[in-house]
């Protein structure tokens, strides 16, 4: 099971970021997003990552944009990087830069 350790706008996800954990994580991440201007997600300890996890990251990223908050993903673990590469979404979720709507659009098409 994934455990998230929270610390002022920084969440570390451990273990699985998969279909088994996304429901729980979605709630906690969204809640966190509402109370913090900047949310940093540390994925260094994620050893399992699947399409459901990927979807969740996309949703949170978009949610942050809509709210005008900053959402950064750092320390991608190999499991995460692997899937991002396969999905061709490294540019969307691959670094911790601030994403604006325009950039997302372009990246989708790229």
């Amino acid at each position: 099971m994934a455990k998230s350790k929270e610390q002022n706008g920084r969440i570390t996800i451990k273990g699985e970021l998969t279909i088994y954990t996304v429901a729980e994580l979605k709630e906690s991440l969204l809640a966190k997003l509402l109370t913090n201007d900047e949310l940093v997600l540390d994925l260094s300890a994620v050893d399992e990552f699947d399409a459901a996890g990927l979807q969740l990251l996309i949703v949170i990223k978009r949610g942050a944009m809509a709210l005008g908050r900053v959402f950064k993903i750092t320390q991608h673990s190999p499991a995460v990087l692997n899937l991002l590469n396969l999905a061709g979404l490294t540019s969307l979720l691959g670094d911790s830069m601030l994403i604006t709507p325009e950039i997302i659009l372009e990246e989708n098409l790229a």
């Binding site: 279909i19 699947d50 996309i58 949610g63």
Partner: protein, 733 residues
């Protein structure tokens, strides 16, 4: 990594699927042209393969894949069903069952089993080889027609396949990961470009993280044929939209692709270009063609296809029908939920307690003499009764599933014995308690085998007796007086009374010269250590079994008896209570003791004096011209206490027999929760259990079947003595 409960679900589901598969396999021999049956077999194999894949059970996947490939060929009509093929498919089914058993026990199969599996696979593969030649034109999706307009024959220049995937929302819930298909695809070629379509993901608040909203546009370089690539998506074909375009497809097909996909046309076109599937020029021509079409008429896609001579109307009709069927199937599935049997037991337990508590309240209300309260407790008890009935109904299952399993038994055993035997099933929709169904399987199997082995004669004997060569075995079930009756009948030789009696005497089961009725003689075969078969086959004939059968049935509070006609066959009749937990009871008083008689068995109540006037306390009374044996419960159960003013007779019926039980007091209906007797009292004849009354008192439940047996026995013995006596009297004369 996989939680045990999921694996458990896999095992349960696989077993169910295997059962369906077996059922279908047995049917398919009779109806080789029914596409539904073949589809059922295919679906079962397919689903097992899919879920086995999820759990990484590669040996099951490999094996099922081989079976599935053959089935697929059958489905498409490339291979015709014949008995040899069915036999090997049944073998494959058995092997799968073994594999699933292994999974259930958490073991991996031994090398021996592995070897066997490999042999089966190669056996199945011989079917595939036969059809390889007929499969040599795999690439074409739509064969260009001579009438097709030139613009449509324009092909794009790309050497790559193009795959458009939109996954269904339930993909995750079905345990699949879209990326696993991508990885699988990568093993069939090189993925040139993959674009993940995330447009369908809704905003955070509307998004269910366990639903899948993803799609892929993939451009693939591969030398495989279309079927191979399609097969990658076997597991998700049902709930995903998958479009596969081979290299050099026609522009019109890309136009359709773009038209059909949910995303905006421009955006899709650009994705196609970015995938390297289309050049920008080609895209332009596609979009141009598209707009032309749009102007022409907004036709449904089906009609467009037909007009362009791509698909013929019958094909579309068939496809639509198929879609509807699939939808209906899904609906039916969705209406079922799986519940842990323990939860049901708990519910029934609680309902039992509720009934007892309700009876208590009722009693207090009566004592307090408050009409309002009495009325409301009456309503309450009616509701509780309904709750009870529906709680019990939850546990009811149709016996058909159990019966159908015997198709296989009959098929196998008749092959083994070299007899031609047909199984006829009736009353499959009769419902009974699930626990009973589970426990009746083994005894039934034994009876069925026994009938086939000993009952039905060999073909030569049958011919010489003027019977049809094909023997028939019937399984029948029906409800009767609060119990369910299951019959196993055969049209074989019937039981040989002489032989049974001689054997019984030889085995010291009865004394020589004992007076036995026909029924008693037949029932001797249920005694321990009894067997009359001259040859011991590996099915039956060892003398163990029939006594076990009877014990098992008795443990379910049931009875078993035999009816037989020499030369014509015999019928074994099992009578079981519908449920093991709660019954409607009829309360009677004898002295100070309260007894409960199952209401289903009560026919009527009469006053003893009004119907009989014999002072010598005869054993029978004349009930409207019918001889009714009666007994005093007081004498039977040794009850103490003052005798009542008026004696009443409760007429009970069990099976074909009626009898009267004389009691002091009739106390009316009572919902009875059956509690089993403690070990100390279990041997007690005539008492089936006890229950707790509303005032906390204990009432005993009368075991009508066993009482009835006793009465019947006495009566039969008496009759025989009478007939003997009259015979010897006649001889003297």
């Amino acid at each position: 990594m996989i939680p045990d409960e999921y694996l458990q679900t896999f095992v349960i589901e696989s077993k169910e699927l295997l059962e369906q598969m077996e059922e279908a396999l047995l049917k398919v021999e009779q109806a080789p042209d029914d596409p539904e049956i073949i589809n059922a077999i295919f679906r079962a194999a397919h689903t097992i393969k899919g879920s086995a894949g999820m759990f990484g059970l590669d040996h099951i996947v490999t094996f099922t894949h081989a079976a599935e490939s053959v089935l697929d060929k059958v489905r498409s009509g490339d291979i015709a069903i014949n008995s040899v093929l069915v036999a090997s498919l049944i073998e494959a089914h058995d092997y799968l069952k073994v594999l699933v058993e292994h999974v259930a026990k958490g073991m991996s199969p031994s090398s021996e089993i592995d070897e066997y599996g490999k042999r089966l696979i190669s056996q199945l593969e011989t079917y595939l080889d036969k059809t390889k030649e007929s499969e040599s034109n795999p690439l074409t999706v739509v064969t260009p027609n001579a009438n097709v307009e030139p613009v449509q024959t324009d092909v794009v220049g790309t050497d790559y396949w193009h795959l458009s995937l939109r996954f269904g929302v339930d993909v995750f819930r079905n345990g699949m990961d879209p990326f696993s298909f991508v990885r699988c695809l990568a093993s069939h070629g090189t993925i040139v470009q993959l674009v993940t379509i995330i447009d369908a993901i809704p905003a955070a608040e509307d998004m269910d993280p366990e639903s899948c909203y993803l799609g892929f546009e993939i451009s693939l370089q591969s030398n495989e044929d279309k079927r191979t690539i399609e097969n990658v998506f076997n597991f998700v074909r049902d709930d995903c939209s998958i479009r596969i375009l081979p290299p050099h497809s026609k522009i019109s097909e890309y136009q359709d692709l773009i038209h059909e996909l949910p995303e905006q046309e421009m955006r899709l076109g650009e994705i196609l270009v970015s995938c390297g599937t289309l050049t920008p020029e080609e895209l332009e021509s596609v979009l141009h063609f598209q707009s032309q079409c749009d102007e022409a008429l907004q036709q449904p896609i089906g009609e467009v296809l037909v007009e362009q001579k791509m698909v013929s109307p019958p094909v579309i009709e068939a496809a639509l029908k198929k879609q509807e069927q699939v939808k209906e199937n899904k609906k039916a599935e969705a209406n079922l939920i799986r519940v842990d049997a323990e939860k049901l037991d708990e519910l029934i337990n609680l309902v039992g307690e509720l009934i007892i508590a309700g009876a208590g309240t009722n009693l207090i209300a009566r004592r307090a003499n408050m009409p309002d309260l009495i009325e409301s407790t009456a309503t309450l008890s009616r509701l509780v009764e309904e709750v009870r009935d529906s709680a019990l109904a939850l546990r009811m299952v149709q016996i058909g599933g159990t019966f159908n399993r015997f198709q296989r038994v009959v098929r196998d055993v008749s092959k083994e014995l070299g007899k031609d035997i047909e199984l006829i099933i009736s009353g499959a929709e009769t419902e009974l308690d699930k626990t009973v169904v589970e426990k009746i399987g083994d005894p039934l199997t034994h009876l069925v085998r026994n009938s086939m082995d000993h009952g039905i004669e060999s073909a030569e004997v049958r011919l010489s007796r003027g019977k049809p060569v094909k023997g028939s075995l019937k399984l029948n079930a029906y409800h009767d007086a609060g119990s369910i009756v299951i019959e196993v009948s055969d049209d074989g030789g019937g039981l040989n009374k002489e032989k049974i009696l001689n054997k019984a005497i030889e085995r010291n089961l009865v004394a020589e010269g004992a007076n036995l009725t026909d029924k008693e003689i037949y029932n001797l075969i249920f005694e321990a250590g009894f067997s009359t078969a001259e040859t011991v086959s590996n099915l039956s004939g060892r003398g163990v079994g029939m006594d076990v059968v009877r014990r098992n049935i008795q443990a379910l509070r049931g009875t078993v008896d035999i009816e037989s006609q020499e030369g014509l066959g015999s019928t074994i009749r099992i009578r079981l209570p519908l449920t093991l937990a709660i019954i409607d009871g009829f309360m009677v008083g004898v002295g100070n003791t309260v007894f409960v008689i199952p209401l289903d068995m009560v026919v009527e109540c009469i006053e003893l004096k009004a119907w009989t006037n014999d002072e010598r306390d005869g054993q029978c009374l004349n009930l409207r011209g019918e001889v009714l044996p009666y007994r005093r419960l007081r004498d039977y159960l040794n009850t103490q206490g003052e005798q009542g003013q008026r004696e009443n007779v409760v007429v009970v019926r069990y099976g074909d027999h009626k009898a009267g039980l004389v009691v002091d007091k009739l106390m009316g209906e009572f919902q009875t929760v059956i509690k089993p007797l403690g070990k100390l009292f279990q041997g007690e004849k005539g008492i089936g259990g006890f229950t707790i009354l509303g005032n906390g008192d204990v009432a005993l439940i009368v075991d009508v079947p066993s009482l009835m047996n006793q009465i019947e026995h006495e009566k039969a013995v008496e009759e025989m003595t009478v007939s003997r006596a009259s015979r010897s009297y006649a001889e003297v004369i």
